[in-house]
């Protein structure tokens, strides 16, 4: 930071200031702007135009990830970057694999059912209407019949996609073993929706969809938020939440990157501040906002900000098939099974996993060859000649929360702006290890039943959950069931960091349902006069 900076530019105060334009931030911005609030969203990355910015190239997708420095450590340090983060409007929804699952009833009651974690302060029924609302808004394409919990009141808005070759092999293996499977519900439209055309099965989904068939918040919620008057302020990295003498959040200080590359400091005041920066940057911002009255960081009287970080075990098993597979075609996950989702007394672990076909592209596949098989040199190149004969299954394995798994501020390392980088500490628990070993065994069995001649495994993780969990008690959680921080009445945390347990479902749909519920709560509180709306016509 240089000493030449002038007094930061101050913007006209907003009703609602949202930090992060990702899965949750997009939903909040649209719902609150349409309810009549003036809404400003700060997004650290650029505002993508898919038709202009999204190339059909595996390496070209590197621009989509959060690649600012972080330190990863612990017994089992996790990979960050491309694996679990996004930077830019849409957040990681521009490159996620689109699997749109509701969590099971049991996921909200892991404490009551097994005593291995806290219960959530909400039940499935609390989220159900919001799951429905988000599924409709995104245009989820899914099966007519859903074999597992929770019971659905109606069909998915859009027809399921056809199975690609990898999903067909998966289904064949499951059928031979008596395992139930279903077409995967995914956030990619199978028929036209408004201006967006149906999927053309290019297969580049996780590198950015250039046809807008993929229902990222970038092309769904965000345009509606803008239409309702929200301002999306891109290239703006929040550095500090400022609290006034009354104990309420007053404003957010941020660094704006100008077109010429210069960085200037600005400040945005708001009646209400919502952090939606996900499980690393949300706790980082809270901790970096330590100030008078909040010596250990904001909203941290419980000491739990940054604690209880979870990831999913995502072990991958590859199988080589006599048939040619062409694993790169279509969305990577078009079927799945949740037959191993719930606790089963016959297992030596509690909770469970989902198994999903995946279709890694050449760079990702070759990296798994190198890490899983230990191959390099001529043999690596020769195995790659056989790329089109492989099919792979990936795991979404539940990870039990552990307060030793944390996000903290690194005491030494600073980023380009002079801010302490996040330090992520992670280690598997014994239950997690047993669970993902069993999961990989199941994947192997399914591939072998489908006719794989040989199989091999690569370890992986995916998704982030937790680190600012919700709860019923200010001493054992960071936010209440509405995502409002216990300590600062007009400060909310609304993203995957509020998860109490990880579940064994891809988290995005639940993150978005929680955001829709929080938006409803804020609208209802405003009716009672607690939050004000400046905009004309507010109800």
């Amino acid at each position: 930071m240089d000493g030449q900076r002038n007094v930061p530019r101050r913007h006209t105060p907003a009703d609602v200031l949202i930090i992060g334009a990702g899965a949750a931030g997009g939903v909040l911005a649209k719902e609150l702007a349409e309810a009549g609030f003036t809404v400003v969203v700060l997004e650290a990355g650029p505002h993508w135009v898919p038709e202009r910015d999204f190339v059909s190239d595996e390496r070209g997708a590197e621009q989509l990830y959060w690649t600012d420095p972080r330190v990863t450590t612990g017994r089992d340090p996790i990979e960050l970057g491309a694996n679990v983060t996004g930077k830019g409007v849409g957040g990681s929804t521009v490159h996620y694999s689109m699997v749109a699952l509701r969590m099971h009833e049991s996921d909200f009651m892991v404490g009551t059912l097994g005593g291995v974690a806290h219960d959530w302060p909400i039940r499935y029924e609390d989220l159900e209407p919001y799951y429905e609302r988000v599924e409709t808004e995104l245009g989820i394409s899914g099966p007519v019949r859903w074999p597992w919990s929770p019971h659905r009141r109606g069909p998915y808005p859009y027809r399921e996609h056809p199975l690609n070759s990898v999903a067909q092999l998966f289904a064949r293996g499951c059928d031979r073993l008596g395992i139930r499977w279903a077409p995967a519900p995914i956030a990619t439209i199978s028929a036209r929706k408004g201006d967006r055309p149906p999927c053309v099965y290019r297969g580049f989904c996780i590198y950015g969809c250039s046809t807008n068939a993929k229902s990222s918040t970038l092309v769904t919620y965000i345009p509606r938020a803008i239409a309702a008057g929200a301002e999306i302020r891109a290239e703006c990295m929040a550095t500090r939440v400022n609290v006034g003498p009354d104990g309420r959040a007053r404003s957010v200080t941020y660094l704006r990157r100008l077109a010429d590359g210069h960085v200037v400091e600005e400040e945005q005041a708001a009646e209400l501040v919502i952090l939606s920066c996900y499980s690393v940057e949300t706790p980082r911002l809270l901790l970096a906002s330590a100030q008078r009255g909040h010596p250990d960081g904001l909203a941290n009287s419980s000491g739990l900000v940054g604690k209880g970080l979870m990831v999913h075990s995502a072990n991958i098993v590859h199988g080589r098939f006599p048939e040619i597979v062409y694993q790169y075609k279509g969305p990577p996950t078009l079927a799945l099974t949740q037959d191993f989702y719930e606790t089963d007394d016959r297992n030596d672990y509690v909770r469970g996993f989902t198994i999903e076909p995946i279709g890694p592209f050449p760079i990702a596949f070759a990296k798994q060859v190198a890490s899983g098989l230990g191959l390099w040199g001529r043999e690596l190149r020769e195995l790659m000649f056989d790329y089109n004969h492989y099919a792979a299954l990936g795991l979404v394995g539940e990870c039990l929360p552990d307060d030793e798994n944390t996000v903290t501020l690194d005491p030494d390392e600073k980023d380009d702006h002079g801010l302490a980088v996040a330090r992520v500490t992670f280690g598997w628990g014994e239950n997690d290890r047993r669970l993902f070993r069993a999961g990989a065994d199941r994947e192997r069995e399914i591939l072998e039943a489908a006719g794989a001649e040989v199989t091999w495994e690569a370890e992986d993780t995916s998704h982030l959950m937790g680190a600012c969990r919700m709860g019923d008690d200010a001493t054992t959680s960071v936010v209440d069931q509405w995502c409002r921080t216990w300590d600062v009445p007009n400060l909310f945390v609304c993203d995957g960091s509020v998860f109490v347990t990880s579940s064994a479902s891809n988290p995005s749909l639940t993150i978005q349902a929680i955001a829709a519920r929080t938006a409803d709560y804020i609208v209802n509180r405003a009716r009672t006069g607690e939050f004000t709306r400046r905009a004309a016509g507010a109800a």
Partner: protein, 254 residues
């Protein structure tokens, strides 16, 4: 309600030149051992339908604008090139037709582009490469009594094999985590090589597939423009004798 998307960018009518991608003396899949000897990932029909203009420009730039060394000293660059040539050998190609790897590692380090995380027990990537290359060469001297560049291909492979399996004297690596360095190096080599159209062609990968996409998704079905396997070549034996191939999971991964 009608959703307003941001305005479409203006794309120039004149497209990039397909012939500029013809970088090899054979069609892309012509590598010995490739099941797709005649597959051309940028054949005329594919260039017209599978390569949108922004992807064309990106890949043409990648193929032709190979960056000069700016981070590594000349001696380091020579050593890294020799290592890359064993980690991903291209002896079957004329030297002028080989996919450049080391210059892209240099560019990444010069520009300071990282993956977005650093293992606590590793220095930053720049220092890791400087120290890793020096340690690798020290190990060559200790074990083979010659600098890496003075070894034969067989000796280089044997040494890299020992290093890849962690069978090294840790003192020579001065605290650098060998396994993480090898993983870092392999990831960078793979990211450079398999981003090149010659590599896509030899493995039968369809390339950008945009805007056309795919119509035939069923197992065993091929769109007419996809790579057609003509010399099947199974990797089953390679997997069976690979270090991590038998039981699986006994290879340390991080």
């Amino acid at each position: 309600m009608r959703i307003r998307l941001p305005p479409l960018p203006r794309v120039p009518r004149r497209g990039s030149d397909r012939r500029r991608l013809e970088v090899g003396s054979r069609p892309g899949g012509g590598a010995p051992g490739s099941p797709y000897p005649s597959f051309d990932v940028a054949a005329e029909d594919k260039w017209a339908h599978d390569w949108d203009e922004k992807t064309r420009r990106l890949v043409l730039q990648r193929v032709h604008d190979v960056p000069p060394y700016r981070f590594f000293a000349p001696s380091e660059a020579r050593l890294l090139e020799a290592i890359c040539a064993r980690l991903l050998p291209q002896d079957d190609r004329l030297p002028s037709e080989r996919v450049p790897i080391a210059p892209w590692i240099d560019a990444r380090l010069h520009e300071g582009r990282g993956d977005g995380y650093r293992y606590e027990d590793m220095p930053d990537d720049r220092e890791a490469y400087r120290r890793g290359l020096a340690a690798l060469d020290r190990t060559a001297v200790e074990v083979r009594h010659a600098s890496f560049l003075e070894l034969s291909d067989e000796q280089r492979d044997a040494l890299l094999g020992e290093i890849a399996q962690g069978r090294v004297r840790v003192e020579a690596w001065e605290g650098l985590a060998v396994d993480r360095f090898v993983r870092r190096l392999m990831n960078d080599v793979i990211s450079a090589y398999y981003a090149h159209p010659l590599a896509w062609a030899e493995i039968g990968f369809n390339g950008p597939s945009s805007p056309r996409g795919h119509m035939r998704l069923d197992l065993g079905r091929r769109d007419p423009w996809e790579a057609e396997e003509s010399i099947p070549r199974s990797s089953v034996e390679i997997v069976r004798r690979a270090p991590g191939g038998s039981g699986g999971g006994d290879v340390p991964t991080h």
